[in-house]
Each structure stands twice: as structure tokens, then as C-alpha cells.
């Protein structure tokens, strides 16, 4: 600013500026400054007041309950139980900030839901208790059959208003369940909301199903199925149920990963001897080999630039994460923290890469800061597998053992509070978080 005035060349205003700044400087420097460099360890206290309802409500959970659970699941919020609320306002004029302040609440969400015919309408308002200020407020509507979508939409808006980050509550999860009865095993590829609800089976097989991967438009899944007795890569269009077996070569056909444009897949093939990474053009099936090493190279995944990719290789002895910044670049090793680090999953911003990490005899999910190289172990559970980052980079889902079975757990991406998804039945594994679809 001041330099700009220099160039203008008006000496007088410049002089005044300098004098003013000289006068101002000692005053401000004398003033006490308290620096706050860390925040509360606990989650943000928020009250999602049960929305008042009018008209015929669809069966199932209430909108406000779904919103409350969403916020809870994120690990960043600590919603107050409705029983503990002193009042149940449904609009801004009914909110007595003092009450919420006494309850230690930082935000209050109030709202009303009404139905008319087939349409469900929700009016909601979000208030900052300490500032006594309205942060967000809108009216949203959806078909009755999409009540949960309406709720997740509100969750996204609330999340965005408070954190400044796009919510990921309207996204989907793909995962595989395994049901064993006697000698028979049934594998099911399923797709659900991020809270595990509205799950639908997309593929059922007696043979293993592995590695579901979302296309960038969230309309297709690529996965590995053993339905023919050996692994093959399939692309499955969810809306139509149409499937295409895109890779069925001698040996391994596995670990599909979509390119940003959705036109090609990275995958692991061993048709040329051992596990190597290839890129397949989905339009014509052309392959380009991207790694060439006697070791195992697998689990490829594009980085945030869409040009380079991460993968697992045991070229150093045990499995470790490597990165290639382009097709022809030399692989760069990313992980060094232990002798077993595999299945990389980068976030959308390129800040971190998440992976399975062995420490002592346990397998955890860890992440490495790609800028500093600093590694953080995020989970305390054992036998953790298949990390998948939410598209906004704020949450992480992974599979872990609970007794004999595997369950899915959501945690804050920095390792915060954990939230177990209620599994439908049996073993749940291989979660994949869908992109945000606008």
C-alpha cells in the first residue's frame, strides 16, 4: 500500500502517511496481543433441535435425527442429546441464546419439516450461539422417497457454514460384504449412503469380489470379481446394471483405479510375468505398461494432479508406497516408517496420502504429509485395512476386525473420533467413498 503511494509521487500525502504510521506504530506495539495457536481438543458442541413436523411424514428416521448423526459421524461435532435441551425452538425467534450458552453449545440448528402431497419441505436455520448470529438458513425440498437425501443435504450445508468445507454427507459408499454359511460363501457388492443406510446390493457372487472403485462421475464402479474362478476387472454401470469385463488376462487382473476423466483405468496385471501396473484405455482396451520391475507393483491410484500415481511395491524388500509423477518418471519412495506400508489413497488436495501401515504386529491406517514427509498413525484398532478418504478430505473410512468379522469405521481424517457404521450382517470390507456429485 505504502509503496504504491511512493510511486504516485505526491509528497504531501506520503508524508502524512509516514507520520501517521509513526504515530500509530508505538501504540499498537504496546498493545497486548494474545496468540491462540491451538483449539479445543473436543468436538464442536452443536444442538440439532428436533424439527417440528407437519403433514404426513415418511416412515423411518426424522430429518433432524439424520442430520445429528451425520454431524456426529464426521467426528468434528458433538451434538447435544435432545433430552438435555432446555427448550425446543423451531425458528430463530424462539432461540434464547442464553439457554444454549448455559448448555455450553456453540451452534444451534432449528427447523420445520412439512409435507404436501409427494413433496417434503424443510426450513432450517443455523445460529452461532456466542455471536448470537444466524450463519445459514434456507428452505429445501425433495420427494418424500428422498427424505434421507434431504437430511444429508442439510447436513452438508450446516457443515459448510461452520467449517468452510464442502460437506460429504450426500456422497455414497461402495463396499463388499461376505456372508459365510457352512462351506458356502456369498459375496455382495453394495452401495449405501455414507451413514450406511439405504444399502443396495449391486452384485452377488459365491466367489470373492474385491477393490470397488468409483468413476469420477460416481455413476460406475470398477471392481475385481472371481466369478469365473479367476480374478477379472469389471466396469459396472450402477443405474442400468450393465457390466463389462474389461480385463481378463492370464494371471492377475486387479486393483482398478479411475482416471480423472473416467476414460481409463489403472490396474495390476501379471500377464507379462509378475504384477505390474498398466493403464487401460476403456474405449479400445489399449494397454500401457507403467512399471517394470521383478517385484510386486500393485494398488495404483492417481494423485491429485491426475498425472502421477501412487502404488505399492516390494522392490525394497517389503511393501512400501511409491509415487511416480508421470508415466516415465522414476518411482520415488514415500514411506519409510515401518517395513509394511501398502494400498495408498491420496486425498483430493494432494496434502496427504493414507495407507495401511504395520507397526509391531498390528496393521493400522497411517498417513504421510506429502510436504513434510511426516507420518502419523491414525487408528488404534488392529488389523485395519482399506482406507478411503472422503472427497472433502475430512473423513476417512476403513475396515477393521471386530471379533471374527470385519466392520467399517469412519474417523476424522486427522485421526479424531471414530464412528462405526452399523453393518448389515456378517463381514463388511473394501469400503470406497464416492466423489461429490453436484
Amino acid at each position: 500500500m505504502r509503496q504504491g503511494k511512493h510511486t504516485v509521487g505526491h509528497q504531501f500525502p506520503l508524508l502524512i502517511t509516514v507520520i501517521l504510521s509513526l504515530l500509530a506504530a508505538p501504540v499498537s506495539s504496546d498493545e497486548l496481543l494474545i496468540r491462540i495457536t491451538k483449539g479445543a481438543d473436543s468436538a464442536i458442541p452443536i444442538s440439532v433441535v428436533p424439527f417440528t413436523e407437519s403433514g404426513q411424514m415418511p416412515a423411518g428416521e426424522k430429518i433432524s435425527t439424520i442430520v445429528r448423526n451425520d454431524l456426529q459421524m464426521s467426528g468434528e461435532f458433538d451434538p447435544l442429546a435432545p433430552e438435555e435441551m432446555l427448550s425446543l425452538p423451531s425458528k430463530g425467534s424462539e432461540v434464547y441464546f442464553r439457554d444454549w450458552r448455559l448448555l455450553g453449545q456453540r451452534y444451534v440448528l432449528v427447523g420445520q419439516v412439512s409435507s404436501s402431497g409427494d413433496t417434503l419441505q424443510a426450513r432450517y436455520e443455523l445460529y452461532d450461539v456466542s455471536q448470537e448470529k444466524r450463519l445459514a438458513g434456507a428452505t429445501a425440498s425433495a420427494p418424500k422417497s428422498a427424505a434421507r437425501s434431504l437430511a444429508h443435504h442439510i447436513s452438508d450445508r450446516v457443515y459448510k457454514a461452520i467449517t468452510g468445507v464442502q460437506g460429504a454427507f450426500s456422497t455414497k459408499l461402495a463396499y463388499v460384504t461376505l456372508e459365510r454359511s457352512g462351506n458356502k460363501s456369498v459375496y455382495r457388492l453394495q452401495v449405501s449412503d455414507v451413514d450406511g443406510k439405504r444399502a443396495r446390493v449391486r452384485l452377488e457372487s459365491d466367489e470373492p469380489i474385491l477393490s470397488p472403485a468409483w468413476s469420477p462421475d460416481a455413476k460406475k464402479l470398477a471392481y475385481v470379481s472371481f466369478e469365473t474362478g479367476k480374478p477379472a476387472v469389471y466396469v459396472h454401470e450402477l443405474a442400468s446394471g450393465q457390466r463389462q469385463r474389461v480385463a481378463d488376462f492370464q494371471g492377475l487382473n486387479s486393483a482398478p483405479a479411475w482416471s480423472d476423466d473416467g476414460r481409463s483405468l489403472l490396474m495390476t496385471l501379471s500377464k507379462d510375468g509378475n504384477a505390474e501396473i498398466y493403464r487401460m484405455n476403456l474405449a479400445n482396451g489399449d494397454l500401457k505398461r507403467l512399471t517394470n520391475h521383478w517385484s510386486i507393483d500393485t494398488e495404483p491410484t492417481y494423485d491429485h494432479t491426475g498425472k502421477g500415481f501412487f502404488f505399492t511395491s516390494d522392490r525394497s524388500g517389503g511393501p512400501q508406497i511409491y509415487h511416480k509423477s508421470s508415466d516415465n518418471a522414476e518411482p520415488r519412495r514415500i514411506t519409510f516408517g515401518s517395513r509394511y506400508n501398502a494400498r495408498p489413497r491420496p486425498d483430493a488436495t494432494g496434502d496427504f496420502v493414507y495407507y495401511v501401515h504395520q507397526r509391531d504386529r498390528s496393521f493400522h491406517i497411517a498417513r504421510t504429509d506429502l510436504e513434510s514427509g511426516e507420518e502419523t498413525v491414525l487408528t488404534r484398532t488392529e488389523s485395519d485395512e482399506s482406507p478411503s478418504v472422503s472427497p472433502n478430505g475430512r473423513m476417512l473410512i476403513y475396515a477393521t476386525k471386530q471379533g471374527e468379522d470385519s466392520v467399517l469405521t469412519v474417523i476424522a481424517a486427522d485421526g479424531g473420533a471414530a464412528y462405526s457404521l452399523p453393518a448389515s450382517s456378517g463381514d463388511v470390507r473394501e469400503p470406497a467413498w464416492s466423489p461429490i456429485v453436484r
Partner: protein, 194 residues
């Protein structure tokens, strides 16, 4: 647990030879060791019926044998031993390796000779891993183990065309559970003769 596969195989062969027809013993042992597969029972019965038929004491008739007879008997004994070894179709591995253990070599050699002798016989080599680590990496690891066994068979006489490899990774454990015992039994290659 210290008994190696080869030692077990030899023990099995001797047991079968000395107690011909007594099939139950081998089964029990196999089950205890957790190393036989579903095919074990039938082949055990087979071997029981083929090795050393008759109940005449070996000590009485041996002096009357000609040199030729003696060689024939040795070959038969050898064949019986190999056949007994071929009862073993599962081979175990250490964590995150595809190295064939020394005790498995004789057995695999027996399988290779068998395949060489029977060109019409195909074998499916199934690679497995324990549940630890990632599924895709384990898939590749299972394949590496299967490939290791395949190479060994081919080097020892089997035709590549007789073999087929497939990896199931950690998807088809032999034993359920998350113990070192279960894991050690799940890190394996199985030969499936079709």
C-alpha cells in the same frame, strides 16, 4: 510342530509300509497336523491297498529273491514312497515370502515326476495369503507363491502347459481365525489335480 513336511511324509510312508491297510492312523495324523486336504482320505486308502500286498513276513521270503526281484521291490517301494509324498498337496510359506521351504522340495519333485509321467494330467496351482496386509498386495503375493511352485514343477519335469496358476490372496483361508496358527496355515499354495 518341528516336524518338517518331508519328515512327516517319510514318517507317513513308513507307517503305511509297516502297518499296511491300517488307513485310520494316517488320517488321524494328517488331521492332527492340519496338513492334509480333502483328497487325503481317498488317496490314503489307495496307498493302503497298493503297498506291500499279502501278509507273508518279509524276512522269510527275502532270501529267495533274485537281484531283479530285489530291484523291482525297491522301485516299488520308491514308487510307493513318492505316491505317499504326493498325498501332500499343500505347501506353506513364511509371512510376505514366496520361498519354497526345503522340506517341501522332495514332495514337489515327486509331483513334478508324476506330472512328467502323466502328460495328460493337469494341475491348478492356487496361491493364498493370510489375512494380514492388504487384499490386493496379498493377491499378488498369492500369485507369487503359486508362480514359485509352478516354476519348481516345470524345472523338475512338468510341462508348463499342464499347470495353471491362480491367486485368491487372503480370500479363501484354510482356517478361520486371527491367530499365528491360523495365519501360518493360510499362507500356502495348494495343488489341485483335475
Amino acid at each position: 510342530m518341528k516336524l518338517t513336511a518331508a519328515q512327516k511324509a517319510l514318517a507317513l510312508a513308513f507307517t503305511l509300509g509297516l502297518m499296511a491297510g491300517c488307513s485310520s492312523t494316517g488320517d488321524t495324523m494328517g488331521e492332527e497336523d492340519g496338513m492334509t486336504t480333502s483328497g487325503g482320505e481317498t488317496s490314503g486308502q489307495e496307498s493302503g491297498s497298493t503297498v506291500y500286498g499279502g501278509e507273508d513276513g518279509s524276512g522269510i521270503s527275502s532270501s529267495e529273491m533274485t537281484e531283479e526281484q530285489r530291484r523291482e521291490a525297491e522301485e516299488r517301494a520308491m514308487e510307493a514312497q513318492e505316491q505317499a509324498m504326493r498325498e501332500i498337496t499343500t505347501f506353506y510359506f513364511d509371512f510376505d515370502t514366496a520361498e519354497i521351504k526345503p522340506e517341501a522340495r522332495d514332495v514337489l519333485v515327486a509331483h513334478a515326476r508324476f506330472l512328467q509321467a502323466n502328460p495328460g494330467q493337469d494341475v491348478r496351482i492356487e496361491g493364498h495369503a493370510d489375512e494380514r496386509g492388504t487384499k490386493e498386495y496379498n493377491l499378488a503375493l498369492g500369485e507369487r507363491r503359486a508362480n514359485a511352485v509352478q516354476r519348481f514343477l516345470v524345472v523338475n519335469g512338468a510341462a508348463r502347459g499342464q499347470t495353471e496358476t491362480v491367486s485368491y490372496g487372503e480370500e479363501k483361508p484354510a482356517v478361520m481365525g486371527s491367530s499365528e496358527s491360523a495365519w501360518s496355515q493360510n499362507r500356502r499354495v495348494e495343488l489341485v489335480f483335475e
